[in-house]
Symmetry: C2
Subunit: 346 residues, 2 copies
């Protein structure tokens, strides 16, 4: 039973405030685009697929009360889309979703404004439904990679809380469990914002999955003791050669997996691919505030005025990736050829 990470009800986007988990479970209601922008920026809602869904409903929030003619409407839509795009730069699903709305509106630019508004809402609901379907498809394809008694390492939260349904990386685990496979998950806590500790352990416990929390620097120790069979993570943007941006620390795990001869899998919907990019070098990496690192639970943990390096993501080169699981199938090397084949011809 997936968690209602995001819903659209009574002209509002309802989301679980993920900054409060696991200590408290609170649904917040974004009634306007500014509230939604803040929710994305402060990571009350996060996860590449969920950001795609949130941005789609965000467009509707941004235009639903607009009054004016068609030209003015398209201008308004453009500014709404630019505004939502300024919230977070790395996950491409957000831009994919905004572009889909943009195309829809331009295609129907001569229809009555009220009708375009309804089409936008319908499209957002469609993106939401697609995300649920896609999540389950990834789970179905990917669960075949998981063996009974596998011990799986993951980072950040690539679960139900990151999507509108079962998740990406964790969808494989939920589906494998449904097939009766016994699985142990090791969750990296994922500093600085601790999504692994706060969200993944909470979500996995809810699904009664055997879960062990570790600090990010403990992964190598487990691998050297042969206690990890697979590493499975999500992705925020994948270039056409398979290079994948994901939560900071993912590249670290990929290097460790290679050194210890452990398969490393990425799970992401086709909307996470950015085929305009040749390699991961072109992916913009969001730098976040130093306070995310120097202050934990309202208490300073470092010397005053120390410099901080705080990128939200890193890029794992395709050479370190065993396979990428999508809703259209599993992609294995050579990635350039196989990504093109599966995604462009689908």
């Amino acid at each position: 039973m997936p968690i209602p990470t995001i819903e659209f009800k009574n002209n509002s986007v309802k989301i679980i405030d993920q900054t409060r988990l696991p200590v408290s479970y609170k649904i917040i209601s974004c009634k306007n685009i500014k509230q939604l922008w803040e929710a994305i920026r402060t990571m009350q809602v996060r996860g590449a697929p969920a950001l795609g869904v949130a941005a789609a409903f965000g467009v509707y929030l941004g235009i639903k009360d607009f009054r004016g003619n068609n030209n003015q409407f398209l201008k308004k839509l453009k500014s709404v889309i630019r505004y939502l795009g300024s919230s977070r730069p790395t996950a491409v699903n957000l831009f994919w979703s905004l572009e889909r709305m943009n195309k829809l509106a331009r295609k129907n630019r001569n229809k009555p404004v009220a009708q375009i508004k309804m089409m936008i809402l319908k499209e957002a609901k469609k993106i939401f439904q697609e995300d649920r379907f896609v999540s389950r498809k990834m789970g179905d394809f990917g669960q075949g990679l998981i063996k009974n008694n596998d011990r799986i390492l993951t980072i950040c939260n690539a679960g139900a809380l990151a999507t509108a349904d079962y998740g990406t990386a964790l969808a494989l685990i939920y589906k494998a469990k449904e097939k009766g496979k016994n699985i142990k998950v090791f969750a990296c806590e994922t500093r600085p914002l601790l999504q692994g500790a706060r969200l993944t352990t909470w979500e996995l416990k809810k699904h009664k999955i055997d879960t062990t929390l570790i600090c990010d620097n403990m992964a190598a120790s487990l691998m050297s003791q042969k206690k990890i069979d697979k590493v499975i993570t999500g992705a925020d943007r994948i270039a056409s050669n398979g290079d994948s941006a994901n939560k900071i620390g993912t590249y670290n795990l990929a290097v460790l997996a290679k050194y210890h001869h452990i398969p490393f899998y990425i799970v992401a919907p086709s909307s996470s691919f950015d085929l305009k990019l040749k390699t991961g070098k072109g992916i913009p990496i969001e730098q976040r505030s130093k306070e995310e690192v120097t202050v934990i639970n309202n208490k300073r943990i470092a010397a005053k005025n120390v410099k901080v390096y705080n990128p939200a993501f890193d890029v794992t080169p395709h050479q370190l990736i065993t396979a990428i699981v999508t809703e259209k199938g599993i992609i294995r090397p050579p990635f350039i050829k196989n990504i093109k084949r599966l995604l462009k011809n689908a």
Copy 2:
């Protein structure tokens, strides 16, 4: 100017309470062996060399008020040593120091008890002075490895706060700076207890070293951008083949350094070698409480009742180590031969 991490004054062991840094600087006074045991256990004092010094003074605290005959004294000494040895299992300096006290007392077992007590105090002071000397010698030998404008990554605190003087890994940096070299240090925060964030940034800022704090999972990202020239860490116990136990996360950095062709150096006094051990497999690894991981600054950050893996140390195999810097010189591979030559014949 080194920081007075540990001192013996007025029959008390005075230490900086490292659990309070960097928010407050407080000297605590251990007047009896139980207080000292607690200070070691809770890591108010930590760092392999500093633990050696603390344990030596601890023996004196344990026997100074003893009244009885020589046989009773030796029995008391034995229980004092066993008690101090139960505080933390991994750093061998602690046991090395206790064994040195034991040998001294046994050699002088027929002398008056009062005289043996004075000899023990004198020996503890000698260990303290030796540690200061050894720290500077490691710095002198090791600084030659550091080039002008080097960007150095370190983990945990292997500085003045870990010894009675300049430190181990950080001694190289202080000595290189004294030689006029320009150095940038990247400090891994070192979860779960954040010694890198709390202690290393505080100490380096005091010494006016250019310091950047990162979360442990960001090291690979820096390395892939060619922003790290060397990794330098301390060690808590080194086997006769060079396998080195150090703070959890060190092995992770060693694998990353190898993958990115970055030299990886260990800095440790000869008292950190355990030549009875053939390999690192024999080093006992301390497992610490789950609350160190699940609670930060008094607030829970993970699902209730989640399992936790929390080893305080990991072991870096000698194959990943470029060289080991000691107070007797720099040891390079083949380690078995060269460790024996430098340490046994010294």
